[in-house]
């Protein structure tokens, strides 16, 4: 007899073959969370290098205390949506603080970052409108397109000319055009060429939404992200973001300086039909958000750490993403070696993310790590060292790169502390690709 699960047989096989080669990424279980950068995994003390905990604030004393206090005074959950069951003070306060942080007129809180993209994009682009999305978009953006009644047109990844051509073809149509891009792309850590996108948006009278999920707290003098760092905040219509990375909890938001944003609350299904964020989550998010603007030292540490890992792995001979960012991804073309490297690192007590096609650009196998301000230079040096040793054993990098990498380890922290380390915020990465519903929906982590 056939089963409703039969259609998943190829997926089951992939999961089983990963397990046979060691472990499946979906089965990773941490028992004890020791700190923002360490946990025990099957009893073994492990360095966490794939948790998006960019500023290492998940154990911030004040944020923890604020959450505990809120639990005692407001309870464990709101048990309903804001539209049907009302808002708590904390929801309203956090929205006010988000708007102030970005210097924008309004903010709307969502229960997760995924729902922020889903709820914002699907509500803003309706029937007769057009969504123009980057081909490498996160799954939440692709899913928003499915929820929206708008026509969805994709442009080649980080390719302003391809976007321009597509907007040109829409000239004379009456609907609104909403362009959606991400600040830092989650798989390779490459960044949107925002200046070029804004020139095109202005030329064709389109709106621009940027997802700053991976750049909040990470880029810009005050931690507001890529828009701040590039001085282009006034030209962006909508920003979405998440609390699940540098803010260290869960939740998402939409901010905008356009008058009338609040109407989104009445049309956005992912806002209306889900429970509002629990008060304790709101309390810790507020506490952490209040520290972001002043977290200059943490940001500097984060970028120094990112540079140590990126340059260390590069010197060892690994192929990496095109741009230095806190997301450092090793690009591999051989699936078994990618899986062996990932398992080898885990055996040595280092946790990274294994990302497989079709969720990756160009069909690459990616060993993805996200660096934290809380990592120590010793932890990063160990990761580079272990990675290089296993990489040589697997024939992924040449033995001759050994000396090069060791020199980098010695000099790394020193040279990278200097202001000379440039942080590029645009990249001319060639076009990339993501699956379509003609194949499978996209799933970017």
């Amino acid at each position: 007899m056939s089963s409703i699960f039969d259609k998943f047989a190829p997926l089951q096989e992939q999961h089983a073959s990963l397990t046979a080669l060691g472990r499946s990424p979906a089965d990773i279980e941490f028992q004890e969370i020791i700190s923002p950068t360490e946990a025990t995994l099957n009893g073994k003390r492990t360095i966490l290098m794939g948790t998006n905990n960019y500023l290492g604030l998940t154990f911030d004393d004040e944020a923890v205390e604020a959450a505990i206090e809120s639990l005692r005074t407001e309870g464990t959950g709101t048990t309903g949506s804001r539209i049907a069951n009302g808002s708590y003070d904390g929801h309203k306060e956090l929205e006010k603080e988000l708007a102030e942080f970005y210097g924008m007129r309004s903010a709307i809180l969502f229960s997760t970052g995924y729902q922020a993209n889903l709820g914002a994009i699907a509500a803003l682009a309706g029937r007769d409108d057009y969504l123009l999305i980057d081909a490498d978009s996160h799954a939440s953006i692709y899913d928003a397109c499915r929820l929206s009644d708008a026509q969805v047109i994709r442009f080649r990844h980080n390719d302003p000319q391809n976007l321009a051509r597509k907007l040109e073809r829409l000239e004379g149509t009456s609907g609104s055009k909403l362009i959606v891009v991400e600040s830092i792309y989650s798989m390779l850590g490459d960044m949107a060429p925002l200046k070029e996108f804004i020139e095109i948006k202005k030329k064709y009278g389109a709106y621009l939404l940027i997802d700053e999920a991976h750049s909040l707290g990470v880029m810009g003098e005050k931690g507001r992200g890529l828009c701040e760092q590039t001085g282009l905040e006034d030209d962006v219509d909508f920003i979405t973001g998440t609390f699940s990375k540098s803010i260290g909890t869960v939740g998402g938001f939409l901010v905008s300086n356009l008058p009338g944003l609040d109407i989104v609350r009445f049309v956005s299904r992912p806002y209306m039909f889900t429970a509002s964020p629990p008060p304790s989550v709101v309390a810790s998010a507020r506490k952490t958000l209040s520290k972001i603007a002043g977290a200059t030292d943490l940001r500097k540490k984060l970028w120094d750490n990112a540079g140590q890992l990126y340059n260390g792995l590069k010197a060892a001979g690994f192929e990496l993403g095109p741009t230095l960012s806190p997301i450092v991804a090793i690009r591999l073309s051989d699936s078994e070696k990618a899986i062996a490297l990932w398992n080898g690192l885990l055996d040595a007590g280092i946790y990274t993310n294994l990302a497989l096609p079709p969720a990756t650009p160009f069909g690459w196998y990616l060993l993805r790590s996200s660096i934290s301000a809380a990592h120590t230079p010793e932890q990063i040096a160990l990761a580079v060292d272990v990675c290089s040793t296993i990489g040589r054993e697997l024939g992924l990098i040449a033995v001759s790169n050994r000396k090069n990498a060791e020199e980098m380890q010695v000099n790394g922290a020193k040279t990278l502390n200097g202001a000379s380390e440039k942080r590029p915020f645009s990249t001319s990465e060639p076009e990339s690709a993501v699956p379509t519903r003609a194949g499978a929906p996209v799933a970017r982590a």
């Binding site: 026509q151 047109i153 096609p357 993501v434 699956p435 194949g439």
Partner: protein, 83 residues
């Protein structure tokens, strides 16, 4: 050669470049099933066609396409809409 034939010929040219000269390519060829192309390659193939025909192919139109004949038809409709 009429318009429909020209569209099919152009599609086949782009597809051979991606799936190989030996790929059996006809109107009934199922794009996702028969060609050994992963979804990434299919997306790039769609981008090629957009450039070649100077049209944008919205995602919801791609979702309805199964065979090359479906694709050719969708492109013809989009060309007419753009004209």
């Amino acid at each position: 050669m009429n318009g429909a034939e020209a569209v099919m010929l152009e599609i086949q040219t782009h597809l051979r470049a991606r799936a190989g000269e030996s790929a059996i390519i006809g109107p009934d060829t199922n794009i996702t099933r028969d060609l050994g192309l992963d979804s990434l390659a299919i997306m790039d193939f769609i981008f090629d066609l957009e450039d070649s025909f100077d049209i944008s192919i919205p995602m919801e139109r791609i979702a309805e396409v199964q065979t090359l004949a479906d694709l050719a038809k969708a492109i013809e409709v989009l060309q007419k809409e753009a004209a």
